[in-house]
């Protein structure tokens, strides 16, 4: 028996990474700021995004959203109430979005072109594990964490929080009854992703949301400048 070792050094997610790089180029060329929202199920991504879409739209920005879900278009219908174009991506059991799904749903999206947008939000499937491995070409990956989930979530899912560019704590309006330890949560996030921007928000009361919108505006200006 003659055996031979073939050196490959090939990334397992190479195909996704290449597609994501292509998407990143087309986002940049169109001047659209693209964000990928990740969290566990029920962290409040949809409510947070509803508020964000509505407010950005009211202030004259051109916004749209792609929404990933295993099944149902419930979230897409909720978001569409903001008046922004929303397209559902049903993954049918796949626990994350990948670059190919994004590319397919951007193509042939009636009435929406990248060049006609200021912001594109991608609401990922609720899952704090697999989406961290799949680059969607986004400029900013936002990890959301609600006050009901426990302050140690970043320590339990370090791969996700470490890959994020911004962290959003949601449902701050019920922080007190939940016994949420704010300092501990901030410390934990910072241990996993030192220096990350952290927003403490409530989509219900609007707390912290102005700061979030300012951040979006700055990031978009940075991209074009």
């Amino acid at each position: 028996m003659t055996t031979r070792i073939v050196e490959l050094r090939r990334g397992i997610l190479k195909k996704n990474d290449e597609l994501a790089a292509g998407l990143r180029q087309s986002y940049a060329a169109a001047g659209v700021l693209v964000l990928n929202l990740v969290s566990s199920p029920g962290a409040g991504k949809t409510a947070f995004l509803e508020w964000t879409l509505r407010e950005l739209k009211a202030r004259g920005s051109r916004v749209a959203a792609l929404v990933g879900d295993l099944e149902t278009d419930n979230d897409a219908r909720r978001l569409a109430a903001s008046g922004a174009p929303v397209r559902q991506i049903n993954t049918h059991g796949i626990c994350h979005l990948d670059a190919e799904m994004i590319g397919k749903h951007l193509d042939g999206w009636e009435g929406v072109t990248l060049a006609g947008l200021d912001y594109l939000f991608i609401e990922n499937v609720g899952n704090l594990v697999c989406p961290s491995s799949y680059d969607l070409g986004e400029k900013i990956r936002v990890a959301l964490l609600s006050v009901t989930e426990g302050e140690d979530k970043p320590l339990k899912y370090p791969t996700m929080f470490n890959s994020a560019d911004a962290a959003v704590i949601t449902k701050m309006d019920i922080a007190e009854p939940c016994g949420f330890d704010r300092d501990l949560a901030l410390t934990n996030i910072n241990e996993i992703r030192p220096g990350i921007r952290i927003f403490e928000t409530s989509a219900k009361t609007g707390a912290g949301m102005e700061e979030w919108l300012r951040y979006l505006k700055e990031e978009r200006a940075g991209r074009n400048g």
């Binding site: 028996m1 003659t2 055996t3 031979r4 070792i5 073939v6 050196e7 490959l8 050094r9 090939r10 990334g11 397992i12 997610l13 195909k15 796949i94 594990v129 697999c130 961290s132 491995s133 320590l155 370090p158 791969t159 996700m160 470490n162 890959s163 910072n190 241990e191 996993i192 992703r193 030192p194 220096g195 990350i196």
Partner: protein, 120 residues
Amino acid sequence: MSIVETVTETLAALPDSSRGARVLEVRLRVGALASVVPESLEFCYGIASEGTPLEGSRLVVQVLPVVVHCERCAQDAELDGVQSFRCPRCGELCGEIRQGRELEIESIEIDELDKVEETA
């Protein structure tokens, strides 16, 4: 599971010189931040490789620890885990990751004799 499938797809697309050869071993490099559990990968590998040229081959997973760059020490440092991104020398929080996100096939070992017999 999708990772295992990608491995089999990648190997199915190997150059002609390796076609028909039996794969004995597949070596992966997996960073500690790659969101992959080596035990699950090994478990799935046996199932996913059935009926492919990889059936019966060994999967060897090398886990790479996280390496950060510490600005205060001006050098790289290896971390024991992924629970805290502090420099083990000086305690500074380090945001720059130098290693730990890898997810790649390093190499495969193939049995060439089978190939020679088939092509002869």
